[in-house]
């Protein structure tokens, strides 16, 4: 799950980024409105955290412009302005949710999960393919009730594959959703992580769930 944070206050952006990373999200930062809009337009984020008072371009404008360009990425507004009128304006500009500062970090995580859940048909926090289970709340992965320990990158990779189960997932898709802007496409980092993940998921079990589709990508099938 890749999230964009548009926030001009360096320290706020920092702790959100750190907190989200610990929860296995992939995070990009934009320190002003223009860069935020550019990143949101050029990458397929799963969610955008948007501050309202921003240098160069304010949050409301970014929100409106994204919606005009048919970019339907869920937007969660974060702002110190919490009057009912401000919230109404924010939601009307195209935001999906609104959280006023200062906020409880747990609530931010819950709202992010809720917004992401809304994007898929089975709206719960446990993803399941055959006997493989992934709990998005406590990030536990079990196969046949046996717990499997994963690194955060492996978790993010598996979560993405499970969210797109029974579909071919290309390397580009993986790089866009599981890695952030710093991703270097000339390395074989995806292959390395994928190999590790396959070893942990499939090695001890009869049935293989992750398959390689030569020339196109990977598929997770039950």
């Amino acid at each position: 799950m890749r999230i964009l944070i548009v926030e001009d206050e360096q320290r706020i952006a920092n702790f959100i980024k750190r907190g989200l990373k610990e929860k296995q999200y992939v995070v990009d930062l934009a320190p002003d409105g223009e860069e935020g809009l550019y990143l949101a337009e050029s990458n397929p984020y799963d969610l955008i955290l948007l501050d309202l008072m921003l240098p160069k371009k304010d949050g409301m404008t970014i929100c409106r412009e994204l919606r005009q360009k048919k970019i339907k990425t869920p937007i969660l507004m974060l702002t110190a302005r919490d009057a009912v009128r401000d919230r109404i304006h924010g939601l009307d500009a195209g935001a999906d949710d609104y959280l006023s500062k200062p906020f409880a970090f747990g609530e931010l995580l819950a709202r992010i999960r809720a917004l992401l859940r809304r994007q898929r048909p089975a709206a719960n926090d446990i993803l399941q393919v055959a006997d493989l289970e992934l709990n998005q709340l406590n990030h536990e992965v079990r196969r046949n009730s046996k717990r499997i320990e994963l690194t955060s990158k492996e978790y993010a990779l598996l979560e993405y594959l499970m969210l797109n189960a029974n579909q071919i997932v290309t390397r580009t898709m993986i790089s866009e959703h599981v890695w952030n802007e710093d991703f270097d496409s000339f390395t074989n980092v995806i292959d390395v992580h994928m190999a590790n993940l396959r070893r942990k998921i499939d090695k001890d079990f009869k049935k293989e769930l992750i398959h390689t589709k030569r020339g196109s990508g990977y598929i997770l099938k039950g």
């Binding site: 110190a80 200062p102 747990g106």
Partner: protein
């Protein structure tokens, strides 16, 4: 001229005082139920109109009555004159003898107009008679008597009412000298206005008076309507009395009075109605303002009174009201923005502290991690305290200018200190600071603590907006009783449309890193103002800005010190 003006002012003042008292009398203690203004206006209007009408009618009545009576007197005098002329002309025609005089008197006073119909009268006699008839004295009471109150001749109507005789005699007694006088004769319920007209006999001499007395008596006997006193007509002075009833005049005046008495109340009733309608019309905008004012709340100040009225004064009122609402709306908006900025400014550090702590508590951390979070929290708490201090200082600058400690000091020395400290600040960003000041001392009266804050705010900003390797220049000059200090930077500059706004509290511009300028510049300006100074800014985008602080110089005391 000046006196006249003073007098006019005095009169106008008195009138206003009178009406204000009138108003006050009608509106009792403020604790009681308030009156309707419309009722009061129409009542006052009616009362004023009533007073004017009564005074006006009274004056008119008096003038009319005076004129009519004067006319009556004039007419009486004219008649008396004509009668006396008629007698004299008769005597002139027929000879100056006593007989002829008596005949003339008789003919003039007693003769009836019908005599003209008698065909045998002709020639000079007829001409005379014609003239006499034209006098129109048939209805008047005429009494001709000697100065010794002996009646020589009386007109027919007087003869018919012998009881009037003594009254005329009494009137005759008021005569004096050679001038005619008037007398009001009251008889029962009748009034007669009488003129006593002195008449001098036209006879030149009276030697034959005794001789002619027989014949005269004969004539008197012959004519029943003519009586001659027993006394001889040896006195040349007579009194001609002409009396007229003033009844037509009295009737006219009485009718007039009736009309007035009846018409004034009718006019007043109509006027009070009209006054009410007028007041209602005039107060229409007041009603509108009331309705608008009711609709205005702190949530919505957009309501305005429709401001095109027939009355100029009401337009002024509605304009003033609308202006007031506009100002309120502006200041409400300003307060709203200000408080939202304050909230933002205080909530940002709180968000950081809360977020850092919560994230660090999500899992077990190493000690350094906790230490890092603690440090951040401490810094953010300091930042909040700074913001609160700034806000309090600004409030003090606004409302308690007395709480500053003003003292005289040398501005050049002061800036030298500021300069050396700012060099340290700028070194971290690799920015060079230059300074320039005059050789002599410049004396300034002010609060050094706050002035230091002013200049550090300016220099902080300059450092903040100047890229590394840039340059900041401080230039102090003193002339024309003012000390000027320019802080020039080679930073990002300020867009022309924002030049004035940057001094607003928490002015927020998209072009600034960090968005808000915070309170620094607005505080600097407030401090300058407290010192009777000012801050001006010039700027060119991407080339830099110059902030110039002007402070008044303490000149006189400086000279005194030189003297010492």
């Amino acid at each position: 001229m000046k006196r006249l003006k003073l007098f006019r002012d005095f009169i106008v003042g008195k009138i206003l005082l009178f009406f204000s008292r009138l108003l006050r009398r009608k509106s009792p203690r403020p604790s009681s139920v308030p009156h309707s203004l419309i009722l009061e206006i129409s009542l006052l209007y009616t009362i004023i109109l009533g007073i004017i009408l009564v005074v006006f009618s009274a004056v008119l009545y008096m003038m009319l009555s005076f004129t009519l009576f004067r006319e009556l007197d004039f007419e009486l005098k004219l008649k008396a004159q004509e009668i006396s002329q008629s007698i004299q002309s008769y005597v002139k025609i027929y000879g100056q003898t006593e007989d002829i005089f008596n005949t003339a008197v008789e003919k003039t006073i007693v003769q009836e107009a019908s005599s003209l119909k008698k065909w045998w009268i002709f020639g000079a006699e007829r001409r005379w008679l014609k003239l006499r008839t034209q006098m129109d004295i048939e209805k008047d009471y005429i009494n001709f008597l000697t100065s010794r109150e002996l009646s020589v001749a009386q007109s027919k109507n007087l003869l018919e009412e012998p009881e009037l005789g003594p009254y005329f005699l009494r009137a005759a007694r008021t005569a004096y000298g050679n001038r005619p006088n008037f007398y009001d004769l009251k008889f029962k319920d009748r009034k007669i206005r009488v003129i006593n007209y002195p008449f001098v006999s036209p006879l030149i001499e009276l030697p034959s008076s005794k001789q002619n007395s027989e014949t005269l008596a004969g004539i008197i006997d012959a004519s029943e309507s003519f009586r001659v006193g027993k006394e001889k007509l040896n006195n040349q002075r007579y009194i001609l009395q002409v009396g007229v009833s003033p009844q037509p005049i009295s009737l006219l005046l009485q009718n007039w009075l009736h009309y007035i008495v009846v018409s004034i109340p009718v006019v007043l009733v109509l006027a009070s109605f009209a006054g009410g309608v007028l007041a209602l019309r005039i107060l229409q905008p007041v009603e509108e303002i009331t309705n608008t004012a009711r609709n205005i709340s702190e949530q919505d100040l957009s309501a305005r009174v429709q401001s095109q009225h027939y009355y100029k004064e009401m337009n002024k009122l509605t304009d003033a009201f609308n202006d007031m609402i506009a100002r309120l709306e502006k200041s409400f908006k300003h307060i709203g923005e200000f408080s939202s900025h304050v909230a933002h400014e205080l909530k940002t550090p709180l968000t950081i502290i809360k977020g850092e702590i919560e994230v660090s508590l999500m899992e077990e951390r190493r000690e350094e991690e906790y230490r890092r979070v603690m440090n951040i929290a401490l810094e953010e708490v300091d930042r909040m305290l700074r913001t609160i201090d700034d806000l309090l200082l600004l409030a003090r600058l606004d409302y308690q200018p007395g709480s500053f400690h003003f003292g005289e000091f040398d501005f050049v020395g002061f800036m030298r200190e500021v300069y050396s400290q700012s060099k340290v600040l700028a070194r971290k960003r690799k920015i060079q600071v230059k300074a320039q000041w005059p050789a002599e001392r410049l004396l300034v009266k002010g609060d050094q603590l706050h002035l230091r804050r002013l200049f550090f705010n300016l220099i902080d900003n300059a450092i903040k907006f100047t890229p590394s390797g840039g340059e900041i220049e401080i230039q102090v000059t003193g002339d024309k009783g003012a000390v000027r200090c320019a802080v020039r930077d080679t930073g990002v500059g300020i867009a022309a449309e924002n030049l004035e706004k940057i001094f607003e509290r928490f002015f927020y511009a998209n072009s600034f890193p960090g968005g808000s300028m915070g309170l620094g510049l607005s505080m600097a300006k407030a401090i300058a103002k407290i010192h009777q100074g000012d801050i001006k800014v010039e700027s060119a985008l991407n080339r830099g800005s110059t902030f110039t602080v002007t402070l008044p110089m303490e000149k006189i005391e400086w000279r005194e010190k030189i003297g010492k």
